[in-house]
């Protein structure tokens, strides 16, 4: 599978994501710089990594969402290419309008950096097919702006359409309805604050994240 990882100035999980993708796809992803305006031909999967793109200036993800490459990502997403945005990547996707809502400063104001228990709310998605519905897993989080907020109508729609992919089991950051990750309406874009690529191999202390990537590859190949 030909995958691409978008790299912004200030991205810092791009290489972790590349290692995870290389391990499950058997091919190194193309690292695509934010100033590029095109994705490599035949890109079948796009990863938007965590970090602090543009130093979180203005709002987390705001500048990255307006960078040239995001126009190409938006076109690819509309064509159905799967896109995952992790942590800062989730912030970029909401700022770019590819996912609804916004990620605000954590309600407790603290930077939260620890492994958190999560519930897989749907296994009926490209990204969560490797899990059982309702399964409890754990990924690390590391963020200051992970407090997911949207208006009530949007939250109801996300819940009703099975687009809440992951939910925190405990209070983490003040997110509305403890939402940790959401899907777009077509189901090919996932944004999540927790880091599956940091729970990928035994040396990380947890491997729950590996099944997200493995499940995804199977779904894309199918």
């Amino acid at each position: 599978m030909r995958s691409a990882v978008i790299v912004f100035p200030g991205s810092n999980c791009d290489r972790d994501l590349a290692v995870a993708l290389a391990a499950v796809t058997g091919a190194k992803p193309t690292m695509v710089w934010h100033r590029d305006s095109e994705l490599p031909a035949g890109t079948e999967f796009i990863g938007i990594p965590g970090g602090f793109s543009y130093g979180d200036y203005l709002r987390s993800g705001a500048m990255a969402a307006r960078s040239p490459i995001m126009a190409a990502v938006t076109v690819a997403a509309a064509r159905g290419v799967p896109v995952i945005g992790i942590c800062n990547g989730f912030q970029v996707l909401t700022e770019a309008g590819l996912l609804p809502g916004a990620l605000m400063r954590n309600a407790g104001l603290n930077f939260v950096c620890r492994s958190v228990p999560l519930k897989v709310e749907t296994s009926q998605s490209l990204f969560t097919a490797g899990y059982d519905q309702g399964e409890e897993i754990a990924f690390p989080v590391a963020h200051h702006d992970g407090n997911y907020q949207a208006d009530e109508a949007t939250l109801d729609r996300l819940e009703g359409e099975g687009r809440v992919a992951l939910r925190y089991l405990d209070e983490v950051n003040g997110s509305a309805r403890r939402i940790a990750g959401i899907l777009n309406d077509a189901g090919n874009v996932l944004g999540l604050m927790p880091h599956p690529e940091r729970a990928f191999e035994p040396a990380h202390g947890a491997t729950d994240g590996r099944r997200l990537f493995e499940g995804l590859i199977e779904q894309v190949a199918a």
Partner: protein
């Protein structure tokens, strides 16, 4: 010409920073503060004749996230 853009959180959107400032003011003994909301002031130095519509487009496209924020534009006429 110059313009000032005030970006504020919409009513009803929780403002943890405003809350923290409020607590700090309480801690300093300023007891009469009912609420605090924190926002941003962005000053733009613009080419003469930049239209209101252009400034508004800047706000909608980048300066404010209209999912959670409101903005208000104030033009500042500069004296030559």
């Amino acid at each position: 010409m110059k313009a000032r853009v005030f970006v504020t959180l919409k009513n009803g959107v929780l403002d943890p920073q405003g809350k923290a400032i409020h607590h700090a003011l309480d801690g300093l003994g300023f007891s009469g503060v009912n609420d605090v909301r924190a926002g941003k002031l962005i000053e733009l130095d613009l080419a003469e004749g930049t239209s209101e519509a252009d400034i508004e487009a800047m706000c909608r496209k980048l300066l404010a996230n209209t999912v959670i924020e409101n903005f208000r534009i104030e033009r500042v006429e500069t004296v030559a």
